[in-house]
């Protein structure tokens, strides 16, 4: 009986803590999560993730972690970055829904996609 009570109490406490965490996330944690969710890392001649889905009006940031420069260019001329050296960033805000194929205009075998919905 005591054991059952103890277990029941532990579950209740656990649930309470979980509820607190879910209902009151810290502001910084949620913003970090949002930011990294809209980032493309460029490294080793690849875009990671290769396909990224973001909401309308989301801002995607490309970060070049490679040891050579890259240029982010949309297939249809919608956006194009300057030459990004190592650690340089480029951001673009997608105000219209759609699928945006892009590539590195210097190393055109590198391709990626942003899906805005």
């Amino acid at each position: 009986m005591r054991k059952r009570m103890f277990v029941g109490l532990s579950i209740a406490v656990g649930l309470a803590i979980a509820t607190v965490l879910i209902l009151h996330p810290t502001r910084a944690r949620s913003e970090d999560a949002k930011a990294s969710a809209m980032q493309v890392t460029v490294d080793n001649f690849t875009f990671a993730p290769q396909t990224l889905t973001v909401p309308v009006n989301g801002t995607v940031t490309w970060v070049n972690k490679d040891d050579v420069p890259h240029v982010i260019a949309s297939d249809d001329g919608v956006f194009k970055s300057k030459a990004l050296d190592t650690d340089d960033k480029y951001s673009y805000t997608f105000s219209k829904a759609g699928t945006y194929a892009y590539y590195c205009s210097v190393h055109p075998k590198m391709v990626g996609k942003i899906v805005v919905q």
Partner: protein
């Protein structure tokens, strides 16, 4: 259809050859190329390749044999401005390449630079290279690499290195009866594609060689390989086949490229394709790494995987003798 093999000078084991019925002993040629890293001189004599170590007596006889022929050099991929672990000091290695050029017993008459002069298309990077190459005291002909045209569609490159060129920077000139063609295949690259010459340049090329005698030796130089080395890494040119079709009539065509930062050679009929060392950093052999980027080697080995190319033309012979030598 004759099979054509990729030859890497560092390959272990047997070097395979292919047979084309043009009287050239390819087995000798390819064995010769394996010596390239040590600085051997390969000369075509009566269609048969003989190799002479650069220090030997016969070698020096060959060196002085300049009747109706000429020697020029190729350097590539100096990437001035690069400063990552693969080579934190590209200035020193470029200077070492210049020393190597100046020490060649048979001095080249001029030099071809097959692009990626700079790393980030910055004016000071071009200035540095110009300053260092002054010490060669030679005329230098440049074609751009993709690193030279990053911000302005090549306007700065053309202003500095190709004032009398057409379009994106292509041009041709003649030396000692050999016709040289500088091509640009790093502009207007399409998503998922390889290097690209483009319609205008191809039309110009067709016209440029139309009236030349088929006995005129042709040397084509461009940054990205004009043959498909490894498409997964972009090592090839989408429309090079069309360019080569305009050169079919010629008995001797030599294609000199850079971009891949390693020496590779391929012979296909009358065309010899060759890619050069970089003077800045090596890159992995096709497919041997995750990507084609700068490859770090132990510091003491760096100069053995960078180098220059010496090209010798003897009048009346088919193939030009192309010799790579590493910096160390």
């Amino acid at each position: 259809m004759a099979k054509n093999k990729l030859i890497h000078p560092d390959a272990n084991g047997v070097i395979e050859h292919d047979h084309n019925n043009d009287g050239i002993d390819r087995r000798g040629f390819l064995k010769c190329m394996a010596w390239a890293g040590t600085g051997a001189l390969c000369v075509v004599e009566g269609g048969v390749l003989k190799s002479y170590a650069l220090g030997s007596q016969m070698g020096s006889k060959m060196h002085s044999h300049k009747v109706g022929g000429m020697t020029f050099a190729q350097i590539s991929d100096s990437h001035m401005g690069f400063n990552k672990p693969a080579n934190p000091d590209v200035i020193s290695t470029l200077k070492a390449a210049v020393d190597k050029l100046n020490a060649l017993p048979n001095q080249p008459e001029f030099i071809l630079h097959t692009g990626d002069i700079s790393h980030l298309s910055k004016p000071e990077e071009f200035d540095n290279v110009d300053q260092i190459l002054k010490a060669t005291n030679k005329e230098i002909f440049f074609v751009p690499g993709e690193h030279d045209v990053l911000n302005d569609d090549g306007a700065m490159f053309r202003e500095r290195y190709a004032k009398n060129s057409k379009g994106a920077g292509w041009y041709s000139f003649d030396k000692n009866g050999v016709h040289f063609i500088g091509l640009v295949n790093v502009m207007n690259l399409k998503a998922g594609g390889l290097g690209s010459l483009g319609h205008d340049q191809l039309e110009w090329l067709e016209d440029d060689v139309k009236h030349l005698k088929s006995s005129t030796p042709i040397v084509v130089f461009a940054h990205i390989p004009l043959w498909t080395v490894y498409p997964q890494w972009g090592w090839g040119t989408d429309d090079s086949a069309q360019a080569l079709s305009y050169l079919k009539k010629f008995g001797s065509v030599t294609v000199l490229n850079g971009h891949i930062h390693q020496t590779l050679q391929k012979v296909e009929g009358n065309v010899t394709f060759h890619t050069a060392f970089s003077t800045a950093f090596p890159q992995p052999a096709p497919g041997k790494a995750e990507g084609p980027g700068p490859m770090k080697v132990p510091a003491e080995q760096l100069r053995s995987v960078l180098g220059i190319t010496d090209v010798n033309y003897v009048q009346g012979r088919h193939a030009l003798a192309v010799v790579d030598s590493s910096l160390a």
